[in-house]
Amino acid sequence: MQVEAYAGEEMVLNMGPQHPSTHGVLRLELETDGEIVRNVIPHIGYLHRCFEKHAEKVDYPGVIPFCDRMDYIASMNNSLGYALAVEKLMDLEVNERVKTLRVLMAELNRIASHLLSVGTYAMDIGSFTPFLHCFREREKILDLFEWLCGARLLYNYNWVGGVSHDIPDGFEAKTREFLGQFEPVIAELDKLLSYNKIFLERTANVGIISEEQALSHNVTGPNLRGSGIAWDLRREEPYCGYDTYDFEVPVGLGEYGPLGSCWDRYYVRVREMEQSLGLIRQALDRLPEGDVQEHIPRRVRPAKNEVYDRTETPRGELGYYVVSDGGLIPFRVKVKSPCFTVLSLLPAIARGGMVADIIAIIGSIDIVMGEIDR
């Protein structure tokens, strides 16, 4: 569009921190010319809770509740990353049952997280019904989690050297039942939202992240795969025995517009839910016998060392850099947040769009402010 010819006076619009669709407390400073956005400046830090400082004050297991609260949509995946990092620090190998349970819960939570992401994205675009349909399904997963470990959102499930609870009786059957009834829901979601012409118009040509941009800004997760790069840590650097599972890495194909558009990112998430379903089935099928907690000293005291470990959360590559000075308390826990890196790309892709496009882009990169600010 030739906007230069119609350029007029600019107005600064302050979007957030209280705004229905900035996904938490993100504040955007928009320089708008009518409906067209000339520049976007994201301001973060409204949800800063001193995660890294907290981690220097509590013992190793005590950090896990704080990890849960970083990306509160996908607590299982967040604590998993930390638990793996500390286990790596301690040179501890957990048994197969723990690994399988971790995969099972991580994938269930991935579905829950993607459901929330997809649902809120629908709401950002203006469609309310898919949002509640997604929440209905998410609620079932949360019920499973509550049954499993007693909490609905912040599980404290993945511990150093194991998981907190074994699955209760009947959990497997209930999970299979959920999987069976969830599959048609994805098909329905496709019909109701994904292929809706208005939704396509709103998203398929907007917020394009090119391959080079994605790589240069360290975009990870579904956002990276939306740009057509098949990079998934579960496949490239398998942890928890992901290499023994059979799953695909869905990538954006650019069917309805340029590659790397909002729609591609959105659709990668929908397809990933399907893959997660398969992973859960496989995990349930194998589920070996074993103890769910390795015998480790009650007070975890890793040797003096440092370790970086990264896992694939629903939002991308989450890295934990844990330094131990040989004491009971971690010397330093540094987090590499996937949402932060992708948010740094926002000004570049949002410039020149319309106000409504900003909403579409923020929704499609699926940021959780709890993780960005920590």
């Binding site: 509740p65 509550e146 499993l148 007693g150 912040l154 809706n196 012409k197």
Partner: protein, 164 residues
């Protein structure tokens, strides 16, 4: 021109498909639970309000150490030799008198870390979730039987890391 009409047709078609789905949902059963009149049964592992069975508490303080948010305040004193011996339900001798066992549920993060180290399993998380109160002070649950002589430590003074 062909694309123009194709776009119009696609819009109408996808809209109709969506309407079919929402129309079907109009007649499917709602999944709402009418909360105060109907209540769901919480699983036994539910982590809601903390409860301490003070009779079994031996005052070891492991829960205080495990709590990542420091919401448990405990003071103990030695029981005199001449006092009759007390035992917890599982037979552990109680050597300390717990004069203060306060849990500030407004600070609690429901992580459950305090209940695992408890040697007598007297500190548990109950499925009791309806404990909204009018004042924040009412979130301070006092489990100790004897009132402490001095007013309870109000401010959680952060323990120095080296002390542990």
């Amino acid at each position: 021109m062909k694309r123009y009409f194709k776009d119009i047709f696609q819009s109408i078609w996808t809209v109709l498909q969506g309407m079919k789905i929402t129309g079907n949902h109009l007649f499917t059963r709602s999944c709402t639970l009418q909360y105060p009149s109907v209540k769901w049964e919480l699983p036994e592992r539910s982590r809601m309000r903390l409860f301490n069975k003070i009779e079994d508490c031996i005052g070891c303080g492991q829960c205080v150490r495990a709590c990542p948010v420091d919401c448990i305040y405990m003071t103990t004193e030695k029981r005199a030799k001449q006092e009759p011996p007390l035992f917890a339900a599982d037979g552990t001798p109680i050597k300390l008198r717990v004069t203060q066992f306060d849990i500030d549920m407004s600070l609690c993060c429901y992580c459950n870390l305090c209940t695992y180290p408890c040697p007598t399993h007297c500190l548990v998380m109950t499925p009791e979730y309806e404990f909204a109160v009018q004042s924040k002070q009412d979130f301070l649950y006092r489990f100790a039987k004897e009132e402490p002589q001095a007013p309870p430590k109000p401010a959680p003074t952060p323990r120095p890391a080296a002390a542990r």
